[in-house]
């Protein structure tokens, strides 16, 4: 309790001299529960001043495809972590129910739905990229994708853009 006035003030190290840390996140899954981890981590990294790039590939396209982005689903099938009898998962209404329940849990903790989450990430300075091969396979163009996707690029373009970045594959 006896700090001398001459001592420098204790203050957080916000480290504005950018460290050059970069994060690349590859989103390859299209289920509701697998879409969120990448978005949450991207948002957290951006809040720390880290340059962040997301690459949506294969089923990850569901997250940026205007037709599907509002309608991602969660299923208990093949997911023993739900601790539900797997036979129940096959009932026709089960996926809809599980999805509704998860969406509610997500909303309850103040986390936005996918389109608004992407908007938040872009407003925070994040970069969204679509995978060229996935676009070609599904005959999708820029017009089919969320407006803020910066471009449809090849895997090698993404690797080039994220030179030196830490990488997460989800």
């Amino acid at each position: 309790m006896t700090t001398l006035a001459s001592e420098p003030a204790v203050m957080p190290n916000f480290d504005d001299k950018v460290t050059g840390r970069k994060l690349a996140i590859i989103c390859s899954k299209g289920t509701l529960d697998m879409a969120y981890p990448g978005l949450v981590l991207a948002n957290a990294a951006l809040g720390e001043g880290i340059e962040t790039h997301l690459f949506f590939t294969f089923w990850g396209f569901e997250i940026i495809n205007k037709k599907t982005m509002n309608d991602l689903k969660f299923t208990v099938l093949g997911n023993p972590a739900t601790h539900m009898p797997q036979g129940l998962g096959g009932l026709p209404w089960m996926t809809a129910m599980a999805t509704a329940k998860m969406k509610k849990s997500i909303a309850d903790v103040g986390v936005p739905e996918i389109p608004e989450f992407l908007e938040l990430i872009v407003a925070s300075g994040g970069h969204l990229w679509a995978c060229r091969m996935s676009a070609d396979m599904n005959h999708l163009g820029k017009a089919d994708l969320y407006e803020e996707v910066e471009g449809i690029i090849s895997a090698s373009d993404f690797i080039e853009k994220t030179d030196g970045a830490q990488l997460l594959f989800i």
Binding site: M1, P12, F14, D16, V18, V40, E48, G110, A123
Partner: protein
């Protein structure tokens, strides 16, 4: 718990330098805290800081960037412009509040 002196005022802070007693905060102190991290406070800064103080008093929790934007009505882009790089932590620091604990 360390005690540090900012602008001639003794304040209680945690190891990182965030105020531990929001009641020790005042506007003059905020200006000094901001100055220490290279920010000169303007009206838009104050609008954000006042929302943080108000929201913390009501909810007992420092709002996240998203909450400052949705409930406080200040666009995310603007927050990044006003408090560069780490808006959530910088706002909390200047407002004399703990770092936000929410993920989003």
């Amino acid at each position: 718990m360390p005690v540090t002196t900012v602008a001639g005022q003794q304040i209680h802070v945690n190891d990182e330098g965030f105020l531990t007693d929001p009641n020790e905060w005042n506007r003059d102190l905020a200006a000094s805290l901001a100055g220490q991290i290279g920010i000169e406070l303007t009206d838009p800064h104050w609008k954000a800081l006042e929302f943080l103080r108000r929201d913390f008093a009501e909810k007992g929790e420092t709002p996240t960037i998203r909450r400052v934007s949705t409930a406080g009505g200040i666009p995310v882009k603007q927050l990044f412009a006003l408090f560069p790089q780490k808006p959530a932590k910088k706002m909390a620091y200047i407002a004399g509040l703990p770092k936000p604990i929410g993920c989003v």
